[in-house]
């Protein structure tokens, strides 16, 4: 019998501490999302509503790139679907933790699931972590930081003009690169990761502006890993 899932304030504050560098790393990205929202004619309340409830920057950028007046309801929903489909792969991995908490906090927690909180939680879970406070502790500052960064970007849109490849914007990608490192488990990962990267690059080239490349890359990497493991056991 495994230890029960707990929720401690120690775990919560550990999550808060782990989230702070991510809040800093992601704020340039949030800032850009805010800037672009202003460029497409949304007002500040609409900008805040989108970031509070959709809370998935990449999908917001794709939807805004194809924005019209009146707003494209179906196209925006479709953009959200294809870019955010990857979240459907992430939820099941958190199942051991989610199963241990009540229904309302469970679906509220899932509503603020993002790549970064997921990566840290999965790493902790693999090391035997059973404290759901960690996930909540990461999620709260990330959400607040995202709201602050996007709103700040929106409000400074008229006065500021950073070039698209300004080094600060690399912070968002650097956060992903950093989170990738502790997910490495050794030599068995080499081939699955190569397959995932190869498929992802190909699909990203074939179907740009969606997240099919993430979903197809991740699934082909997983299949490769499972096949290799089956072969080793034979």
């Amino acid at each position: 019998m495994e230890a029960p899932i707990t929720f401690t304030s120690t775990g919560f504050w550990r999550g808060v501490r782990r989230s702070l560098p991510l809040v800093a790393g992601l704020s340039p990205f949030g800032f850009v999302v805010g800037l672009i929202t202003q460029h497409h004619g949304l007002n500040v309340v609409q900008c805040m509503a989108m970031n509070a409830f959709v809370y998935a920057g990449a999908s917001e950028l794709v939807a805004l790139a194809n924005w019209t007046h009146p707003a494209p309801i179906l196209a925006a929903a479709f953009a959200a679907l294809v870019v955010n489909l990857r979240f459907a792969l992430m939820g099941p991995v958190l199942a051991p933790w989610l199963a241990g908490i009540q229904t309302l906090p469970r679906y509220t927690s899932l509503a603020v699931l993002v790549d970064h909180s997921w990566a840290i939680s999965v790493t902790d879970m693999r090391n035997g972590g059973r404290d759901f406070g960690l996930y909540v502790g990461i999620s709260v500052p990330l959400w607040l930081g995202w709201m602050a960064a996007t709103t700040a970007g929106f409000l400074s849109a008229s006065t500021l003009n950073l070039p698209p490849h300004h080094p600060l914007f690399f912070g968002a990608l650097a956060a992903f690169v950093a989170l990738l490192v502790p997910l490495w488990r050794g030599k068995t990962d080499i081939l699955p990761w190569l397959v995932a990267a190869g498929v992802a690059v190909t699909v990203a080239y074939a179907v740009p502006h969606t997240s099919w490349y993430i979903v197809s890359g991740a699934i082909s990497g997983c299949i490769t890993g499972a096949l290799l493991e089956t072969k080793r056991h034979e």
Partner: protein
């Protein structure tokens, strides 16, 4: 349709679809019992999902990002400190931009 109403409807539609993505996978898997093969595959998911993100982003971005990513990765491998690694990558990129700008 009134432009403001359409904007709020679009935001609501996006929020609903995104929430369905976030909950849908979990709901599906909590109703089925994953087979041993599926469980073996899921172990590889975290690494593969992140590599499937990072590599296409690097391939389509400016070449100096590879340098920034290498510095971020090396810092993370030695320090296990996310904040330090992000900062090191961004600083490295400023440095690369400075050097290449100096020679161009």
């Amino acid at each position: 349709m009134n432009n403001n109403v359409s904007i709020y409807l679009a935001i609501a539609a996006m929020a609903l679809v995104t929430w369905a993505c976030r909950c849908g996978g979990y709901l599906l898997f909590s109703r089925i019992t994953p087979s041993p093969a599926l469980r073996r595959a899921l172990v590889y998911l975290p690494g593969c999902i992140f590599i499937a993100y990072v590599v296409p982003a690097l391939v389509s971005g400016p070449p100096q990002n590879w340098g920034g990513a290498a510095v971020t990765m090396a810092t993370m491998a030695t320090s296990r400190n996310v904040g330090l690694s992000i900062a090191a990558g961004v600083v490295a990129l400023f440095a690369i931009d400075g050097v290449t700008g100096f020679f161009s």
